[in-house]
């Protein structure tokens, strides 16, 4: 298939996705900016000075990368899960299914939409963070690579959730009961060195731990996990979720009868 005939459908899905979340920016861009401002105010400015330092950094500096990463994860996931499930619910997913678009292009289009929203919200929250602290940047390449891979992983996870979802409850259960606990227990607000040895081992099963620490390494040069180990885990998560979501689309699970 000529490259152009793949690029046009891909860019159509991406533009449609970005237009969708920009059209409702009050619901998609503003809330993370407000909630993350509250995190910085409460945990950074009010409680932070009483906590002191964490692994040699002021507490607000230590939690800033985790808070930015938290907003990227939530928004990349939310974008794909709500958009793809919405398309299923309103049945306009059929517009794409009847067209000669390979499934990997459909997946790439939706995931790119999630990545763009993740990046955009991440930038907004970074700007908010600059009002509270001076952010460091240890490695630009690592920082961008981690943001990119994390938003891909959670866009893919959002796609899988949307594929299996049969009602609106199904797209809020995973973020509420799985994603949120994993984020809060993923080292956003503390170093896992503070945990007892048993809970440190349990934390190693939390994928978000690797993402938050790799991002913190990119910004502060400090991580509870070796950066190589974190990247290996990110690559494994990306490939696994990519294969699973592509297989589900190829089999038509949740979208074809």
């Amino acid at each position: 298939m000529p490259l152009q005939s793949l690029f046009i459908p891909f860019s159509t899905i991406v533009i449609k996705e970005v237009s969708r979340f920009m059209r409702i920016w009050v619901q998609t861009i503003v809330p993370p900016a407000i909630s993350m401002t509250l995190y910085f105010v409460i945990f950074g400015s009010l409680i932070g000075p009483r906590i002191g330092t964490m692994n040699g950094f002021d507490y607000i500096d230590y939690i800033a990368p985790g808070i930015i990463m938290m907003s990227i994860i939530n928004n990349a996931y939310a974008n794909v899960v709500s958009s793809f499930y919405g398309a299923k619910f309103q049945r306009h997913i059929e517009e794409i299914l009847v067209a000669p678009i390979p499934n990997f292009i459909i997946l790439a289009g939706y995931v790119t939409g999630g990545v763009v929203r993740g990046f955009l919200v991440g930038m907004v929250v970074t700007i908010v963070a600059l009002f509270f602290t001076d952010l460091h940047l240890h490695s630009f390449t690592i920082t961008i690579a981690v943001v990119l891979m994390t938003s891909i992983v959670f866009s893919l996870a959002g796609m899988i959730n949307a594929i299996f979802a049969n009602k609106f409850d199904d797209i809020s259960i995973i973020p509420t009961f799985v994603l949120t606990p994993l984020i809060y227990l993923g080292g956003v607000f503390y170093s896992i060195d503070l945990l007892p040895e048993f809970w440190q081992k349990v934390s190693a099963f939390n994928p978000i731990l690797y993402m938050v620490n790799a991002f913190r390494y990119g910004m502060l040069g400090e991580s509870d996990i070796s950066i190589t180990h974190a990247f290996i885990m990110l690559i494994i998560f990306t490939i696994t979720l990519l294969i699973v979501s592509l297989q589900l689309l190829n089999r038509g699970v949740g979208i074809k009868s």
Partner: protein, 307 residues
């Protein structure tokens, strides 16, 4: 090469419902083809499989020679689909919906814009192109789905009950549009509940019932099978009792309306002769239902009896 070739198509849903029991169907290029059947007969399942919205259990489908399994993209490029249910985003404008569909088919924006103007214009929607689709009336939404299905100028247009719930005037204008499209070479496959619609528009017809094709022939041949017709006679003066009608099946519906079933071998003049000799004057007569409707019901009845 047929426009559509279906061989031994079967579909069993996960709940074990056997929606299609091995159907065979050919639609020629340039045809205006009707696929009729009662609710749940398997029409929408067949269309869903052709368009890639339903997974088939077994069988083969070729669209203009392209197998839907091995040459999926080529086959899909030949088809435009107008579904039964409204299936576009309620939060997009008419123009956005049509242009995006062009994008999904790999059509450049510039080309898609020209075609959008052409088809939205022909269907009377160009003036409302920037309105959100949710603000359109039911008939406009159906026309928008037709414009969307034509944006890639498919060789075959499949319409699944396109005029359901549409008023008479709009239905007639949609018929004219479809006739024009067919005359320009587009093969049209239509499912409808309005048998008058199929009778007026279609050259060939297949009737599907309980997942099987029970009739597949030309409209002309099918209608020639009709061996009886039922007429209503409207009388000038009311009557209380029917005269003897030489054994024809008849019923007095009300004092000025008589229903009579006339076999093809019978002479309709005899009815007028009897009425005249009894001083009964007829002011008008009409068919009880369309000829196709009578045949359709007969075929379904026969199929139910043989099962």
């Amino acid at each position: 090469m047929p426009a559509l070739e279906i061989n031994n198509l079967k579909k069993i849903y996960p709940n074990k419902l056997e929606a299609l029991k091995g159907i065979d169907l050919n639609v020629n290029q340039g045809d205006f083809f009707a696929l009729l059947g009662p609710n749940g007969a398997g029409k929408s399942t067949t269309i869903g499989i052709i368009c890639g919205l339903v997974n088939k259990t077994s069988g083969a489908i070729k669209v203009f020679g392209h197998d839907i399994d091995s040459e999926n993209s080529a086959a899909k490029s030949c088809i435009g689909i107008v579904p039964q249910e409204i299936n576009f985003s309620q939060f997009e404008t008419c123009l956005g919906i049509v242009l995006n569909q062009g994008g999904y088919y790999g059509i450049k924006r510039r080309v898609a814009m020209k075609r959008a103007e052409k088809y939205l214009g022909k269907l009377g929607l160009w003036e409302r192109r920037n309105e959100y689709s949710r603000n359109l009336s039911g008939g406009m939404k159906r026309r928008l789905m037709i414009a969307r299905a034509l944006i890639h100028e498919p060789k075959m247009l499949i319409l699944d009950e396109p005029t359901a719930g549409v008023d008479v005037e709009l239905r007639r204008s949609m018929w004219d549009f479809l006739i024009d499209l067919n005359q320009q070479g587009t093969t049209i496959v239509l499912t409808t509940h309005y048998l008058e619609e199929a009778e007026s528009l279609c050259k060939n017809i297949a009737i599907i019932d309980q997942g099987k094709i029970v009739e597949d022939t030309s409209m002309k041949q099918l209608l020639s099978k009709l061996d009886k017709e039922t007429f209503f006679f409207d009388l000038v003066e009311p009557i209380t009792m029917l005269p003897d009608l030489n054994g024809l099946s008849s019923k007095l519906i009300d004092p000025t309306t008589v229903e009579i079933e006339i076999l093809r071998k019978d002479n309709i003049n005899q009815v007028f002769d009897i009425f005249s000799s009894n001083n009964i004057n007829v002011c008008s007569m009409r068919n009880k239902s369309s000829r196709l409707e009578e045949l359709f019901l007969d075929l379904l009845d026969n199929n139910n009896r043989t099962d």
